[in-house]
Amino acid sequence: MSLRIWEGKSAGKSSAPNFSRRSFLRTGTAVAGGIAALAAALNPLRELKVEEEFSIDKFLQKHYKEMNAEEMEHALERIRREVEHRYKVRPDVKDFRAKNGVEFVYALNLSRCIGCRKCVHACVDENNQSRAPEIQYIRVIEMPRGTLDLEKGNHHYDRPTVPDANHFYMPVQCHQCANPPCVKVCPVEATWQDEDGITVIDYDWCIGCRYCEAACPYWARRFNFTEPKIPEDQLNPTMGYLSNRPRPKGVVEKCHFCLHRTREGKLPACLEACPTGARKFGNVLDPESEVSQILKTKRVFVLKEEVGTLPRFFYYFDERYPLSLDPEAQAVAVSMGYASAESTLAQGEGCGGSCGCGKGSCA
C-alpha cells in the first residue's frame, strides 16, 4: 500500500482551521526544538574574535589597484593599529611601488649552493611568516648528481654536515614568472604581476580558494591554514602592504623578492644570508648589472621550461667546476662548520656524477 504524502495525517478531519491547544503545543515544541538545535549547531561561532577579524573598515576596503592615496593611507593606518594591538610593536608599514625601468631577476649558482638552508630561515625572519606552524617560502632540495628530476630529490635531508659530495642542492622559491599561471586562475584578481616583474598578493582581497596553489608548477604558494603565530620579539617592524605585513588566516602568501627591500635598492634577505654568494639578484634591464652579465655569459636554465611559465629565476652551474662544488664555497662550508674536511677530499675522488652511477663516487 502506498502512502499518499500530500494528504496530511488526518484526511478525515474537518478542513476548518484547527488551533487546538494540542496542535499549538506540538507546533510550538517543534519550533522551539528546531531553534535550539540551530543555536547548538552555531555554538562554535562564539569563539570567533569578531572585533579582531571583521571590521567595517576591512569589509569596505577596496582592491589594491582601486585605492587612492588617501584610502591607502587609511588602510595602512588600520594595519599599523592592528599590528600594534596584537604584537605591541608600532610597525613602519608602507606601500612600496614598482619603479620604472626595473625588472628584477634572480640567478642562482648551483655550484656554490651548499644546502645550509640559511636563506630559508632568513626569509622567515624577514617576512613575518607564521612560526607555528612554520611557513617557509624557500625549499632546498637535495638532488643526486646526474639528474634534474625533482621526484628524485630529497626535501627533508638532515645531515650532520653539508654539502654531501654525491649531491647538489637546489633552492626553489617563487619564480616570478613572466607568464604566471597563478595570476591567470585567480577569480578575484587578488594576485597580479607588477611592472617590475614581481607577482604580488593583496592579502586583504584574497578569498582563499587556493586555485593559485593548484596552478603553480613550482609549489611556491603557501596557504594560512590557521591563524599565523609570530612571537612579539621576532616581528620585523619594517613592512610592505604587498609583502611582509602579518597575514590573516585563510589567505595565500608567497615569496615577493623582498619587495619592501628590493624596491628601495636593497637586496633580498635570502641573498644577504647566503654564506657562499650563490645567489645573485638585480635589474635585468640594466645591461651592467650582475644578473645581466650572468644571463649573457653563463649557461643558465630555468626549471620546467616546458610548462611555458617564463620564470625570472635562473639556475646555472659554474663551467669551471663541472664535477664538483666551487672550492670557494666548499671552503666556506668548512670554515662555518657545515662541512667536514673529509667531505672536501671526497669531492676530488671518483666520477663526480658524470658517469651516471647515481652515487657520484664510483672509481
Binding site: 502506498s2 502512502l3 499518499r4 504524502i5 500530500w6 494528504e7 496530511g8 495525517k9 488526518s10 484526511a11 478531519k13 474537518s14 478542513s15 484547527n18 528546531g34 538545535a37 547548538a40 549547531a41 552555531l42 562554535p44 561561532l45 569563539e47 570567533l48 571583521f54 577596496k62 582592491h63 632540495i141 628530476d149 625533482l150 621526484e151 630529490g153 626535501h155 626553489v172 599561471p181 591567470k184 586562475v185 585567480c186 577569480p187 578575484v188 587578488a190 582581497w205 584574497c206 578569498i207 582563499g208 580558494c209 587556493r210 596553489e213 593548484a214 596552478a215 603553480c216 613550482y218 609549489w219 596557504f223 594560512n224 590557521t226 588566516k249 585563510g250 589567505v251 620546467k304 611559465t309
Partner: protein
C-alpha cells in the same frame, strides 16, 4: 502577485506536513545538516587547519564533491533530451523531477565551493573584481548560477502554471529548456577546464577529462534518479511506469560503457608511455614509493562500476531490487572516481616531487555529509510540494489547509 504569494505560503506549509516516514526522513536529514553546520562553524573559527588539506594537497573532499555533484546536476539532461528532443512519452511526466534534482545538486555544489573558501566573508569580492574570462573559476560561478537560474525558472514556471490550472506558454519555457541542455554540457566542460588547463599538474593536463566527466555523470545521475523515482512510486500516488525506469537503465548502460572506454584510454596512455607524466596515475592505481592511500578506493570504484554495469546489462536488472543494487554501485563508483580519483592524485606527487598524502578529517566528512543532507532536504521538499500541484490536488481554486488537506 497575491496568488503567487499564497502559492509560496501553501508550499511552505505543505513542506511541514506528511506521514510519519516523511517526518523521520526530514528529521534525520535536518539533524545531519545541522551537524554539518556545526562542523562548518568550527572550521570558520579555527581555519582550514581542521581539514586534512595541506600546501601539498590543497584541494580535498570539498572540491571532489563539487566535481561529482556538478555532474549530477548536468545529468538532468539525460531526461530532458529524450523528452524534449526525441519526444519520449514515458519520461515526459518525470522530467520535472530531474530538473528539481538539478536544482538540489547545484545547491550542494555551490555550498561545496563556499565551504572550501578560506575567506568566505570576502565572497562579495567576486562581484567587485571578477577575473572573467581569464579565470576558469569565474566561468564555474557563471555556469553553476546560470544553470540554477534556468532550472529554477523552468520548474517554477511549470509548477506554478499547474497550480493556476493554466496551459504553460511554450514561449516561456521551451527556449529555456534547450538552453539548459547546452548549459548542462557546458557545466561539465567548465568543470573539466577548471582542472585540465593547469600545465603544472600533468595528471589533469588531459583532454579526455571533460568527456569522462560527462560520461560518468550520465551514468551516476540517472542511477540516482532511478532510485528517487522508485521512492516516489512507492510512497506517493505518482505512478512511475516501468518503461521509464528501463529507458533510464539504457542511458546508464551506454554512459557507463563510454566512461569505462575513456578510462581505459587514459590508463593506457599514462602507463604505456611511462613518462614522468605517469607518477600521479601510478599513485592512484598502484601506489608510489610505498604510499597508496587511494589504491583501495580506486579499485573499489572500478570494481563497483564493472559489476554494476554487468548487472545492468543482464535481464535480471528488470527486477527492481537488482536494478537498485546496480544503480547504487554506479553512484558509489562514480562518486569515488570523479571525486577522490580525479582531484586528489593530481596533487601527489607535488610539483617539486614530494609525496604527501591526504586523509580527510572527521570534520571534513561531517561538513560534506551536512551539505549532502541539506541537498536532499531541498530535493525532498521540492518533490513534496510538486506532486500535489501536478496531480491537481493543490491549486489556486481549492480551499486549503495543510493540517487537513483533502483529496478531491
Amino acid at each position: 502577485m497575491i496568488h503567487y504569494a499564497t502559492f509560496l505560503y501553501r508550499c511552505f506549509r505543505l513542506s511541514f506536513v506528511g506521514p510519519a516516514i516523511y517526518y523521520v526522513w526530514m528529521f534525520a536529514l535536518s539533524a545531519v545538516a545541522l551537524v554539518g553546520l556545526n562542523a562548518y562553524c568550527k572550521q570558520i573559527v579555527h581555519g582550514m587547519g581542521v581539514t586534512g588539506m595541506s600546501d601539498h594537497v590543497s584541494w580535498g573532499l570539498y572540491i571532489s564533491n563539487l566535481a561529482f555533484f556538478v555532474g549530477m546536476a548536468a545529468a538532468a539532461a539525460t531526461l530532458v533530451i529524450p523528452v524534449y528532443v526525441y519526444r519520449n512519452k514515458e519520461l515526459s511526466h518525470l522530467v520535472i523531477f530531474a530538473q528539481l534534482f538539478a536544482v538540489a545538486t547545484i545547491t550542494m555544489s555551490l555550498l561545496f565551493v563556499v565551504v572550501d573558501l578560506g575567506r568566505p566573508d570576502r565572497f562579495h569580492h567576486m562581484m567587485l573584481r571578477f577575473n572573467f574570462p581569464i579565470s576558469m573559476l569565474t566561468w564555474d560561478v557563471i555556469s553553476l548560477n546560470g544553470y540554477m537560474a534556468l532550472n529554477v525558472h523552468i520548474c517554477g514556471y511549470l509548477i506554478y502554471c499547474a497550480y493556476r490550472r493554466q496551459e504553460p506558454s511554450k514561449l516561456f519555457y521551451i527556449p529555456f529548456v534547450f538552453v539548459a541542455i547546452f548549459w548542462a554540457f557546458s557545466t561539465q566542460l567548465v568543470e573539466a577546464f577548471l582542472y585540465c588547463g593547469l600545465g603544472g599538474r600533468p595528471f589533469w593536463n588531459s583532454a579526455v577529462i571533460a568527456p569522462r566527466l560527462v560520461a560518468a555523470a550520465f551514468a551516476a545521475g540517472p542511477s540516482i534518479l532511478i532510485i528517487a523515482l522508485q521512492v516516489i512510486d512507492r510512497f506517493t500516488d505518482y505512478r512511475v511506469p516501468e518503461k521509464a525506469l528501463m529507458t533510464l537503465r539504457n542511458i546508464v548502460r551506454v554512459a557507463m560503457s563510454a566512461s569505462m572506454f575513456l578510462l581505459a584510454s587514459e590508463v593506457f596512455t599514462e602507463f604505456y608511455t611511462d613518462s614522468a607524466h605517469v607518477a600521479s596515475a601510478r599513485y592512484l592505481f598502484i601506489g608510489l614509493e610505498g604510499r597508496h592511500a587511494l589504491v583501495p578506493w580506486i579499485w573499489t570504484s572500478v570494481g563497483l562500476n564493472l559489476i554494476g554495469l554487468i548487472i545492468l546489462y543482464t535481464p535480471f536488472s528488470r527486477s527492481r531490487p537488482l536494478l537498485t543494487v546496480g544503480c547504487v554501485m554506479m553512484i558509489v563508483g562514480v562518486w569515488i572516481e570523479k571525486g577522490m580519483g580525479l582531484v586528489i592524485p593530481a596533487f601527489v606527487p607535488s610539483p617539486l616531487g614530494e609525496i604527501v598524502e591526504y586523509f580527510p578529517t572527521l570534520n571534513e566528512w561531517l561538513i560534506s555529509a551536512g551539505i549532502v543532507a541539506f541537498g536532499f532536504l531541498v530535493f525532498t521538499i521540492l518533490v513534496r510540494v510538486t506532486i500535489p500541484v501536478l496531480s491537481g490536488k493543490l491549486a489556486f481554486d481549492r480551499p486549503y489547509h495543510p493540517d487537513s488537506e483533502q483529496p478531491a
